[in-house]
């Protein structure tokens, strides 16, 4: 019952779009969508998503293969460095570039910068698969007479396919939802257009219909992702311990490969961090608003903690049902929460604005609405972490503890909580990180006067006050770094980002 209610809250954006189409009528909806401007946005968005998917697939797979399966020097360090761009929000990354040169504005720049920000989403799952692949498969292929390239194409690549498709689909969803980076690079897509329509003219109908189109695109991608996920399993078949995988000697190719990985790191990490440092140094010589920084950091931390607590609290009952009382209904509930994965922040924000003005004007322009938006958007992350945590505490431990004389409360305290706590902590950290670096919904929903790291950064960089924007960006990166490091550990690789 409680879980069903939570799911209903999570589905507010969907009801909002459906309800909107219903009220204005189908003809009007078609008229709003069927415009040259929408066509142009559609082309832009499509080209960008397709390009980013292709580029992140190449970056992610190539880097993962070099790090996991070859004798590339310094593989451990590269592993961390290649994941590190996740600690730099995409809008900070584009700030790093665009504040150095305006030539990155437009399609090519957007494609490069968004891909550089999101390729770790492909790198992580592909590297995990490459690490777990049974070497016997490749040895069998070799024994059947296949050379290294044909083995890669016919044995390794097919096994990478689920991870590759899953990873690139997440990239596609992120790209569809990306606002800050693209706005900064002046490349209009659905998301930026919705924002502009809403901000400049409060053009509700047009913005809402665009949101509908965006939501449908995202849902299509999500369905695709769920289908793919249903059909594969990562684990190795058969018993016995997996042997370590022999590494391919790079030989004379060592230097070019090092150059490729180094170049990727330099572009994805070096440029934004270097640019940030540059602006910190040159910008802070004039003024360094310590008081402001402390206040906004405190606001961001507070929002992050509240958002994390709310998302975890909402996700817990559903996750518990899914793990301990699995049935068709609970699976449906669980699936419904994944919906949040596909809803761009801009759509969540629009939906909450409209719904709150209509039904609960008291919460409009309050922090309650903002925190609720965070919870809806990041519910899937909380769900996945809690599920993973609950898997660490199967019912058999409860039973053993009960048989040893522990009552239910004592069992919870001595067995279940100690087992579940690390996973819950990691889940909260992931949500916290996402909230602190969230820009789009925060811009639309933050009450007037509420200033977070992201919004302060945004208003400063929008008025080309790069030096003033840099400290806020640096703080976001510093806050993100520890959680990102966690993702390079094996245990957390499957966490959603």
């Amino acid at each position: 019952m409680l879980s069903a209610l939570i799911v209903l809250v999570a589905l507010i954006p969907l009801f909002f779009v459906l309800g909107y189409v219903f009220t204005i009528g189908w003809d009007q909806a078609v008229r709003l969508i069927w415009r040259p401007r929408v066509g142009e946005l559609f082309r832009n968005t499509g080209l960008l998503v397709a390009g980013c998917v292709a580029l992140t697939a190449v970056f992610g797979t190539g880097a993962a293969w070099l790090v996991e399966r070859t004798t590339l020097p310094g593989r451990r360090v590269w592993n961390v460095l290649l994941v590190a761009p996740l600690a730099v929000p995409a809008f900070v990354n584009s700030f790093g570039w665009v504040s150095l040169t305006a030539r990155v504005e437009g399609y090519a720049g957007a494609l490069l910068i968004v891909s550089l920000s999101y390729y770790p989403l492909v790198y992580l799952p592909v590297a995990a698969i490459l690490r777990g692949l049974d070497p016997a498969l490749e040895e069998t292929a070799a024994a059947l007479g296949l050379g290294p390239w044909r083995t890669f194409g016919r044995v390794v690549l097919p096994q990478l396919r689920p991870a590759l498709l899953g990873g690139t689909l997440i990239v596609a969803l992120h790209t569809l939802a990306e606002f800050g980076a693209l706005q900064m690079l002046r490349f209009p897509t659905f998301t930026t257009a919705i924002y502009d329509l809403y901000r400049s003219s409060f053009n509700g109908p047009a913005a809402n219909m665009l949101a509908g189109v965006l939501l449908v695109s995202c849902l299509l991608l999500l369905t695709l992702e769920l289908r793919l996920r249903g059909h594969h399993r990562y684990s190795r078949l058969g018993g016995g311990s997996a042997r370590t995988i022999p590494l391919r000697a790079l030989g004379r190719l060592t230097a070019p490969c090092l150059g490729a990985v180094g170049g990727l790191t330099a572009l994805a990490l070096g440029v934004p961090l270097g640019s940030l440092t540059f602006w910190l140094v040159t910008g802070s010589s004039t003024e360094f608003p310590v008081g402001d920084l402390v206040a906004t950091t405190a606001t961001s931390l507070g929002l992050g903690v509240t958002g994390a607590i709310l998302a975890m609290a909402l996700a817990f009952p559903i996750a518990w049902l899914c793990v301990r009382r699995r049935g068709p209904l609970t699976v449906l509930l669980e699936r419904s929460t994944y919906f949040g994965n596909a809803v761009p922040g801009i759509v969540v924000a629009l939906a909450l604005v409209t719904v709150s003005i209509r039904f609960a004007p008291a919460v409009y322009q309050t922090l309650v609405l903002l925190v609720l938006a965070y919870a809806i958007m990041f519910l899937p992350r909380a769900m996945v972490s809690i599920r993973a945590a609950l898997d660490q505490a199967p019912p058999v431990y409860d039973e053993v503890a009960r048989a040893l004389g522990s009552g239910p409360l004592e069992t919870l305290r001595r067995v279940t909580l100690p087992l579940v706590a690390p996973g819950l902590g990691a889940g909260s950290a992931l949500v916290f990180l996402a909230v602190v670096t969230e820009l789009t919904a925060t811009l639309l929903l933050a009450p007037i006067g509420t200033r977070t790291l992201a919004t302060q950064f945004w208003s400063n960089s929008a008025s080309i006050a790069y030096g003033a924007a840099a400290p806020y960006a640096a703080l976001m990166v510093i806050l993100s770094a520890p959680v990102t490091l966690l993702l390079t550990r094996d245990r957390w690789r499957s966490m959603p980002v």
């Binding site: 660490q392 048989a403 040893l404 001595r414 100690p418 087992l419």
Partner: protein, 346 residues
């Protein structure tokens, strides 16, 4: 004294009846094995005795106390029943010593002075006390799980397929160590298994379970040599079934004359011959001629598949590894010892 008595116990999950009326008495200080194929309901019975599930009807008593039935239900933590699940299920966040003392109270837990004694009881080195579960082998985990269950001195220990996850080589040794620890502490045990040799070798009493009912309860010897029916016979060991006419406790068959245990009188019957009852002789004049089809040689013994020349029937004989005939040779076989007889209807 009986440690456990179960009467007319039933349990259904949704539409599927898992237990359809179980009656079982477990004598004190004995080991009872519940033997059955997977899905027969044996784990459910164990969970009902432990108190993890509630029976639909029937009664369970531990000693004199009714713990389930007649409107009474005693929670698992108040039953003083030790539980060793499959694969041990050691608490992964606690080391060996903390796992073992988990069920102890107050000072006894904090001092941990019984850890060494319990480790010795299950045949483990005292050095393992500070290891974490993942640092132990499967057999060691199983032994620690038993020590943990024995620590609060329960009157009864329940073991759910405790050895099925172990390698064959480890299984026998671990099984023996477990039984020794149980005997040393005079603890009653109920062991659930699908492995016939495990049940026959470890238990004092074997209860054969089939489709939610107990098909037979008896000593290992009874269950093996005089099974209640041919289904039980084929489940607890390899069987050669021979149709023959009984005349006054003996029968003639294409395997030669058979001496039948008391039971059936005269008339048609189905007879159970165990492979090790079939003796082979190379050149003797007694016995029935048979051709050796093939031989599976195990070292200590061998399974020899034979075709009886007169009838064409295929039978398997189990012979010592010292005297194994060659394939395609012709030998003479005879059946020694009494065989069990069943009426032909079933």
């Amino acid at each position: 004294m009986t440690a456990v008595s179960v009467r007319s116990l039933t349990k259904a999950f949704g539409a599927s009846e898992v237990l359809r009326g179980i009656d079982l008495t477990v004598p004190e200080e004995s080991v009872t094995a519940i033997l059955g194929p997977s899905g027969c309901g044996k784990t459910t019975l164990l969970r009902l005795i432990a108190g993890f599930d509630v029976a639909d009807s029937g009664e369970i008593a531990l000693g004199e106390t009714v713990v389930c039935g007649g409107g009474r239900f005693v929670a698992p933590q108040d039953r003083r029943v030790g539980y060793v699940p499959q694969e041990g299920a050691l608490f992964p966040h606690l080391d060996v010593a903390d796992n073992i003392t988990f069920g102890l109270k107050g000072r006894e837990r904090r001092s941990g002075h019984r850890v060494e004694e319990l480790l010795a009881l299950v045949g483990l080195d005292p050095d393992v006390r500070h290891r974490l579960p993942y640092q132990l082998s499967g057999g060691q985990q199983q032994r620690v799980a038993l020590a943990r269950a024995l620590a609060p001195r329960p009157s009864l220990i329940l073991l759910d397929e405790p050895f099925s996850s172990l390698d064959a080589g480890l299984r026998e040794g671990t099984g023996r160590a477990v039984i020794q620890a149980l005997k040393a502490t005079s603890t009653t045990a109920v062991l659930v298994t699908h492995d016939q040799s495990e049940a026959l070798s470890l238990a004092d009493q074997v209860a054969v379970m089939r489709d939610g009912r107990l098909a037979q309860v008896g000593t290992p010897h009874e269950v093996y040599r005089a099974p209640a029916d041919l289904g039980v016979a084929e489940f607890v060991g390899a069987a050669v079934v021979v149709d023959a006419d009984l005349v006054d406790g003996s029968a003639s068959s294409d395997l030669g004359p058979l001496y039948v245990m008391a039971g059936l009188g005269s008339g048609p019957a189905r007879l159970l011959v165990r492979p090790e009852q079939i003796e082979l002789a190379g050149s003797s004049q007694v016995g029935v001629e048979a051709r050796v089809v093939d031989v599976s040689y195990f070292g200590h013994d061998a399974a020899v598949r034979l075709q009886v020349l007169t009838s064409g029937r295929l039978v398997t004989a189990r012979v010592l590894g010292l005297s194994v005939p060659l394939p395609d040779s012709v030998v003479r076989l005879s059946v020694t010892g009494p065989v069990a007889a069943y009426s032909p209807e079933g």
